[in-house]
């Protein structure tokens, strides 16, 4: 198919619309889920089941005045929320939703997602610094040290999988797992018996990388007001929120592609985009479930978990897989 301006525009609009719609309705799902777990109704007034709550929230956020605190660094204060949302949308470019639904299949797809995810740290730093708020600075230092520490085991785990599949193209990574649940990377194979452990490590790291509870030290309400976005109101806050949920969708998509066979059916029947969506929403549900049922960790516990447990295990797994790949 030849590339036209129309195709490009459709792809861009679809990516932004998908990210925004997900952000809006995942907030609803999160609040309803939280309500259910805490034995209260959650938002249920606007529309059936409260489904009109996200548009109401959106209108409220967009019509609110944009306040910039007096001492803030205006330029950085304005740039940070944009920087939180833009990389997340960029990452949608290379995510294959099915064999045909992919905007641009890149040979370095895995790298591209991690490269743009690393911009998220920059946005948190600039937000905390730019708002010139003690809580903000403390929270951004925390959040970034957390992001850096959890990037390491995450990337080591990804290297293990890239080594097995021999490609960094997300589409080819899925194709290597085609044909049923026994081919998925989640299931231990002869050359990588520790695959479920890798899955667990990657899952924990994606929770930490998206700043979700129990690892949401960057916005620990009980200690830091609202963390790095303390000073943000109206759509500045809205963009941070949307960026967070877009990042969750990307995290879930990556887990699905790397471990759960992408758009393949567990039994090898009717592969298609529906399986992909089913898998990512199940993963997102588990993210929400974990957020509302686990208490927040401490910053030392968090960093120790990464440097003393996850990194050694993932390094051992990497060496073991490399050795076994040579043998078998």
């Amino acid at each position: 198919m030849s590339l036209t301006i129309l195709n490009a525009v459709v792809a861009v609009v679809a990516a932004i619309a998908f990210a925004a719609a997900n952000a809006a309705y995942l907030v609803w799902a999160e609040r309803r889920g939280a309500g259910r777990i805490q034995r209260r109704p959650g938002p249920n007034v606007n529309g059936p089941l409260g489904l009109l709550q996200p548009p109401c929230d959106g209108i409220k956020l967009m019509t609110k005045q944009l306040m910039i605190p007096g001492g803030a660094d205006k330029a950085l204060f304005m740039v940070a929320p944009v920087l939180a949302m833009a990389p997340a949308i960029m990452s949608f470019v290379t995510i294959p939703f099915s064999e045909t639904i992919v905007a641009h299949s890149m040979n370095v797809g895995v790298l591209m997602i991690f490269a743009f995810a690393s911009l998220g740290g920059m946005s948190i730093l600039l937000a905390g610094w730019g708002s010139r708020n003690k809580y903000g600075v403390m929270a951004s230092v925390r959040a970034v040290s957390q992001n850096i520490s959890y990037e390491v085991p995450m990337l080591i785990t990804v290297i293990t999988i890239v080594m097995m599949a021999g490609t960094m193209n997300l589409k080819e990574l899925v194709a290597a797992q085609a044909g049923g649940i026994w081919n998925w990377n989640l299931i231990p194979s002869l050359s990588s018996p520790l695959m479920p452990v890798s899955f667990l490590i990657f899952f924990i790291c994606s929770l930490a990388e998206t700043n979700r509870a129990p690892f949401d030290l960057g916005e620990a309400e009980s200690e830091l007001v609202a963390g790095f976005h303390t000073e943000y109101g109206s759509m500045g806050f809205g963009l941070f929120f949307m960026g967070e949920y877009a990042n969750i969708v990307i995290g879930a998509s990556l887990i699905t592609i790397l471990f759960l066979g992408g758009w393949d059916c567990p039994l090898g029947l009717f592969p298609g985009v529906w399986w992909f969506l089913l898998k990512i929403y199940m993963l997102i549900f588990s993210f929400i479930w974990i957020r509302w049922t686990f208490p927040r960790t401490t910053i030392y516990g968090l960093l120790n978990l990464s440097w003393k447990i996850l990194i050694p295990i993932s390094l051992f797994n990497l060496l073991l897989t490399a050795g076994l790949l040579k043998v078998f």
Binding site: M1, L111, M122, I148
Partner: protein, 190 residues
């Protein structure tokens, strides 16, 4: 004839595939100029801003521009590495260090050292003339596109033709890790 072709047949000329190819050639130059401008503006912000954190943000912008140029030159792997290492690691580490060391704004000290003032101007002028001379004199051959940025090929080359470079880089990293450990341990009893 699939649905996209049908849609294309209904569009005005410049929006169709052939028209777009023509526009794309024109647009490519503009895109390149935007990347160049991003890099230069980022560099200027990095050098001239009074607030250190702004300077780091400018540096990050500069690196993003450089990464975009790498991508433009058909080298996606290097572009992504540029983003991952320079923006994601180097800039964040610098910003981190600034936040931990100097929570208040530090105004940049004024010009100092023997190369400030006229001598510096002469040095900069000579360097600029030299660079312009090199850029004008060098013949830039148009290289054919080798592949779609295959990571495998880069890996093979790194472990065969350029294994020495690879080893030296890993030694540099090892020394950096040891050095940071020594600095971090300095003055601690346990």
């Amino acid at each position: 004839m699939n649905i996209m072709d049908q849609v294309n047949s209904l569009l005005p000329g410049f929006l169709t595939a052939d028209g777009f190819a023509g526009v794309a050639d024109e647009a490519a130059g503009i895109v390149f100029l935007i990347m160049l401008a991003t890099t230069i503006i980022g560099g200027i912000i990095a050098c001239n801003s009074k607030r250190l954190v702004r300077a780091v943000a400018g540096l990050a912008l500069c690196f993003v521009g450089v990464a975009a140029i790498y991508y433009y030159l058909n080298s996606p792997f290097v572009a992504m590495m540029q983003m991952l290492i320079y923006v994601g690691a180097v800039c964040i580490t610098i910003a981190f260090a600034i936040m931990l060391a100097a929570p208040e704004d530090k105004v940049k000290p004024g010009p100092s050292g023997p190369l400030s003032g006229p001598l510096g101007l002469i040095t900069a002028g000579l360097a600029t003339i030299g660079m312009i001379g090199l850029a004008v004199k060098t013949v830039f051959p148009v290289m054919p596109k080798i592949n779609m940025g295959s990571v495998q090929l880069i890996g093979v080359k790194l472990l065969t033709n350029y294994s020495m470079v690879f080893e030296l880089v890993s030694i540099v990293l090892l020394i950096a890790i040891l050095g940071s450990l020594v600095i971090a341990r300095h003055g601690r009893s346990k």
